[in-house]
Amino acid sequence: MLNLGTDPHEKTTLIVVSLILLLIQIMFGPQAGIFDAHPNFMLLLACMWGFSRGSESGVIAGFLSGLAYDIMVNTPFGLMTLVLTIAGFLSGLLQRNLISTDPKLAVLLTLGLSILAEFVVGIFIFVLGLEGNIIYALFGRMIASSIYTSLCAIPLVFILNKFMRDSQSSQLGTRYK
């Protein structure tokens, strides 16, 4: 099961942000493309859970967000589910509570995981023959989409960082009362 933590404030933040990311992906995902770069808000969702709640939660969030993404796109169903499940696991392995302790590292790791995810999808699509030019796929789509996704991660990580730090400090305050 998803590890929601004990702090109700943090729990609410994670659930609300997840729903907002899902809504953004559905509503603005198709419209947010710049040339061939498309942001993947579902990857951000998987990473957010992994970074804040560990790899078990990252795997579950990655699987569910991948399923949601696969419903919205025309690529083979299950491909993004597979990739985001692995991305969620890796993000959870790196460090728990990364968003509240080191938000800059969280953004950099999101970029790395995004490149990895796009690369795996790209290779798979190339092998299936759905993409003809691997060089264009690599630089025109994968790298561009990864950078775009990471840029979208910046406000998300810093907003979450603020919420989580506020939540932790208020919790510490109540403990020492």
């Binding site: 559905i26 025309n74 959870g92």
Partner: protein, 331 residues
């Protein structure tokens, strides 16, 4: 006493160096199962059905997103048009005058053609049964060039139906839901349309390139192709009607000893910014020229009809075309 070691084992497992590893293995296996089942099942399989059902629910939400983002999508065009230089204005005025003269000529030709058609009983090239639809979204991922339209199977649309806009052909339905459909644009790499040069009638295949441009392939070097030539759909294979404009030749190159030209085709509008489209729900029999031995993907669209019925059908199609145009305008 015998239970103790088991308990210790369980405790040891919980302190694994990779928490969530077992869960990962299970979900990765499940993902592979989904991939395999989706690839092997047909359009009516359980995953396709569930996906289609959820897509139907998401259509209104996507529509809201599309409407909300309209001002942002128009921004590049506004910026581009806000600063026209004097040279562009002069060029546009000249082009306007030239187009007006051409229009008058075309009106005359059209009347003449109508008279000849009446005499010979030929069907009009564009007498097609169509359904007007509105674009409500684009491709979510970077790997497809497609748009989503707000009409689906309940409106009489089906897979592989050609889709046009006011200029000409834009694509083909690649995925169909109850109240929405995905149109694969002609600029998609997986798209292929039989096409011909209007002036020389040289035929080839239009395919999309990774960068979103179009190439006209397999045009033999013994045919005449010049920059600016209009490219039309050839209608071979029966998937698309014949004579629909696709674009203009932007460059023609010929490698030494090559059998075919390298032809680039330019679409004179931004295909991603198309807002209203017409889905061709039925092709004229005159438009269908199936290649011998090749089974058309949209064979179900054609029907054996007598010449009398055909004539009646054409009249009906023309009427419906008029009404669908009106629908499009009123949309």
């Amino acid at each position: 006493m015998a239970i103790k070691p088991n308990k210790q084992k369980r405790k040891f497992r919980k302190q694994s160096a990779f928490p969530g590893l077992r869960l990962l293995v299970v979900f990765v296996a499940l993902s592979f199962v989904l991939l395999t089942v989706y690839a092997r099942e047909g359009e009516t399989g359980p995953i396709h059905t569930i996906k289609s059902g959820i897509s139907n629910v998401l259509v209104p939400v996507q529509h809201v997103g599309y409407t909300l983002s309209t001002p942002f999508r128009a921004l590049p065009n506004v910026l581009k048009n806000a600063t026209p230089d004097q040279a562009s204005l002069t060029e546009l005025q000249e082009e306007n005058a030239q187009l007006k003269a051409e229009l008058a000529q075309h009106e005359e030709s059209k009347n003449e053609l109508k008279r000849l058609q009446d005499l010979l009983g030929l069907q009009s090239t564009y007498a097609l049964q169509t359904k007007a639809a509105r674009v409500i979204g684009g491709s979510t991922d970077a790997w497809n060039r497609s748009v989503i339209i707000n009409k689906g199977s309940q409106d009489g649309l089906a897979l592989n139906m050609p889709v046009v806009n006011s200029y000409g052909l834009i694509g083909q339905i690649s995925e169909i839901n109850l109240n929405s459909a995905t149109v694969r644009l002609i600029t998609d790499e997986k798209s292929g349309v039989s096409a011909m040069i209007q002036a020389s009638r040289a035929q080839g295949i239009i395919t999309g390139n990774p960068d979103g441009s179009l190439s006209l392939n397999y045009v033999t070097v013994d045919s005449t192709v010049v920059r600016g030539d209009v490219v039309l759909s050839a209608g071979l294979g029966g998937s698309y009607p014949r004579g629909l404009p696709i674009g203009e030749v932007s460059s023609v190159n010929r490698d030494s000893n090559a059998l075919y030209y390298n032809i680039q085709v330019k679409i004179p509008y931004d295909i991603k910014s198309v807002e209203e489209v017409l889905v061709i729900t039925k092709l004229n029999d005159a438009d269908k020229q199936p290649i011998a031995g090749v089974k058309n993907s949209d064979e179900q669209l054609s029907g054996e009809t007598s010449p009398a019925a055909q004539s009646q059908e054409t009249t009906q199609a023309q009427t419906e075309r008029g009404s669908s145009r009106e629908q499009g305008e009123n949309h």
